[in-house]
């Protein structure tokens, strides 16, 4: 039978020890704020979002070529660095580690103003491995199309208009927060429990506790309670930092709560399971990392899952953290409660299974 008194007693000793040791506190409270500040700064700054591009104008600063550069600049997507026309452009790019470049050929103005106009190519250099090169190719292509229309004296019939997905205007930070909250939900309990459980086993603290009326289930519930508490605090801190420093819009929908409860429930249990089935503190850490790191990167924490190749998306769907982040996204960004409900369902089942396994395999005493 589960006793509230014993859970409370264990929670008091554990929580007090946790606060006093300070290291754990750093990782569960300060670190998430640092994450928000760091990622917020990387992605939200207006100046830094422009792609650096090297441009060589071989058309003697003709009016047409200058007009073309002005058009590129007006897209606000590129930070253009001019390269003088005598230089070997690909060597220059390589020696400056430039991922993207544009070359306006000589005779650019002459060719486009000839009657009838001669065809002419603007060369775009790009690195296929760099995501920013795609932006440069696309934007240059769009500017070229606009020029073509002008030369042909035509006007655009089909045009595009950008609308942000979701009811409100969201900023980049708003898309980041659910993933980063998920990151904190995973790492703080997971690393701590892998460590604590393997250490308690080594130091025979579990053996000793088995000689008291405290049960394994009670011990685990006490840890889950503590990490739910920490998760709630770190959620408030992260969203607070996001709002304060980057003007994030957070909807504090009640639908967020199940994820902040189920996440720690699941990952405390998983950490416990890993820690107790491992033979030593060291092997526990290795197994813990093997489970945590793929989950950390493939569940949509830093990169959206739907930008990943299909087979990785399949992998993501078996990772428990995916359902926490997907659920938070559904509630916080899209207000899609039906989809969030599915995520809750998956998490409830996973949590109960992992909790059950942890209690089953977690050995108080030896045989």
């Amino acid at each position: 039978m589960v006793s509230g008194r014993r859970i409370r007693a264990d929670l008091t000793v554990f929580g007090r020890g946790y606060i006093r040791s300070r290291i754990g506190l750093f990782f569960s409270l300060i670190f998430p704020i640092i994450l928000i500040l760091l990622f917020g700064a990387i992605f939200s700054g207006s100046g830094s979002s422009r792609v650096p591009v090297y441009l060589q104008n071989n058309d003697n600063n003709s009016t047409a070529s200058l007009g073309f550069i002005k058009a590129l600049n007006s897209t606000n997507t590129m930070a253009i660095t001019m390269v003088s026309s005598g230089v070997n452009f690909s060597q220059y790019l390589a020696s400056h580690s430039g991922a993207s470049g544009i070359v306006i050929p000589s005779g650019f103005q002459g060719d486009i103003s000839a009657r009838p106009p001669k065809s002419v190519s603007v060369t775009v250099y790009g690195n296929p491995a760099s995501s920013t090169s795609g932006i440069v190719t696309g934007v240059t292509g769009a500017v070229v199309s606009a020029f073509n229309l002008r030369i042909a004296n035509a006007s655009a019939i089909v045009s595009t208009q950008s609308v942000s997905v979701a009811s409100k205007t969201f900023k980049y930070i708003d898309y980041l927060i659910p993933g980063l909250v998920g990151f904190a939900v995973l790492t703080s309990p997971m690393f701590a429990l892998v460590n604590i459980s393997s250490q308690y086993k080594r130091d025979k603290i579990f053996k000793q506790l088995s000689l008291t009326p405290l049960t394994k289930t009670e011990w685990l519930i006490s840890k889950i309670t503590w990490y739910v508490f920490l998760t709630l605090i770190s959620f408030v801190l992260m969203t607070g930092a996001g709002t304060l420093f980057f003007g994030a819009h957070i909807t504090f929908a009640p639908g967020i709560i199940p994820f902040l409860l189920l996440g720690p429930f699941l990952f405390v249990s998983l950490g416990m399971l890993v820690g107790t089935v491992s033979k030593s503190v060291e092997s526990a850490a290795v197994v813990g990392n093997l489970i945590t790191f793929p989950m950390m990167f493939l569940s949509g924490t830093f990169f959206p899952v739907d930008t990943m190749p299909a087979y990785l998306q399949t992998v993501a769907h078996v990772l428990p953290l995916f359902y926490v982040i997907d659920g938070l996204n559904n509630v916080m960004l899209y207000g899609n409660y039906n989809a969030a409900l599915t995520d809750v369902g998956v998490l409830v089942v996973l949590s109960l299974v992992v909790f059950g396994l942890a209690v089953r395999f977690f050995k108080w005493r030896e045989d």
Partner: protein, 258 residues
């Protein structure tokens, strides 16, 4: 009535017969000491009696209960300090006692217990900051929280300085005067001679001698005047019987400790 009844107890780890068919009993209110070199099977025996391990063969009754199957009831009546006691780093001895009291659902006077184990001066020092002897005393204090009828002390003085050892001895004497039974394992022969009513000497999983210290000396000694339990122990266990584990003192010491 006997506090502990053990008959034909055996436990193997693979091909190693850690405990190889031992029988003994501990009477109510007795201090009983299990002696033996490292690897003799003392800790395995004591852990079976505490319900931490299941025996392969034999019968065990502790306070009339089967330790493995009825551990939950048994643990309310016994106190235990495991070898090399450790606790949560950032908890004070006083908090540890209150924690245990809450787990057992009993009201205790933490200060009185701390005084009993002579730890009142460090009542509010974090466990991680305590010396080895003080840590051991926290274990001793915790083993007393539930007012146990029987206390298991597994090498409670190993690694302690002489003053700390004496302090632990005093606590054991107090326990005895309160009619509690004590099962003590130790490397130190003088400790057993000083404290124990009865002694069993184990080697290679078997009990090779038992009785009061005086009886053992009379039965197994060379008959020389002034022979100590330690002299008899060395004779019984033999020079090769120890030195299997690393924590024994160098054999060059004139008064050998085990």
């Amino acid at each position: 009535m006997s506090t502990i009844e053990v008959s034909s107890l055996a436990k193997s780890y693979g091909s190693l017969h850690a405990v190889d068919g031992i029988s003994f009993s501990v009477k109510d209110g007795q201090v009983f000491s299990l002696l033996g070199p490292n690897g003799a099977g003392k800790t395995t025996t004591i852990e079976i009696l505490e319900g931490l391990r299941e025996q392969d063969e034999g019968q065990v009754k502790v306070l009339g209960l089967d330790p493995w199957k009825e551990g939950y009831q048994l643990h309310k009546k016994i106190g235990v300090i495991p070898q090399g006691f450790k606790f949560v780093d950032y908890a004070t001895p006083k908090e540890a006692i209150n924690y245990y009291a809450a787990l057992f659902g009993v009201k205790v006077d933490a200060d009185a217990i701390l005084k009993k184990v002579i730890l009142e001066d460090s009542a509010d020092v974090y466990f991680t900051k305590l010396s080895g002897g003080q840590k051991q005393k926290v274990g001793l204090a915790l083993s007393l929280v539930n007012d146990p009828q029987l206390v298991f002390l597994d090498e409670p003085t190993t690694g302690l300085d002489p003053q700390a050892r004496r302090a632990v001895w005093d606590v054991i004497r107090t326990l005895r005067s309160e009619d509690r039974s004590v099962l003590l394992t130790t490397h130190y022969l003088d400790e057993a001679e000083e404290l124990a009513d009865e002694v069993a000497i184990m080697n290679h999983g078997k009990i090779i001698a038992s009785g009061t210290p005086a009886e053992i000396i009379a039965q197994h000694g060379s008959g020389r005047q002034g022979e100590s339990l330690e002299d008899v122990f060395v004779k019984l266990v033999g020079e090769e019987g120890h030195g299997q584990a690393g924590d024994l003192p160098a054999p060059a010491a004139p008064r050998r400790r085990f």
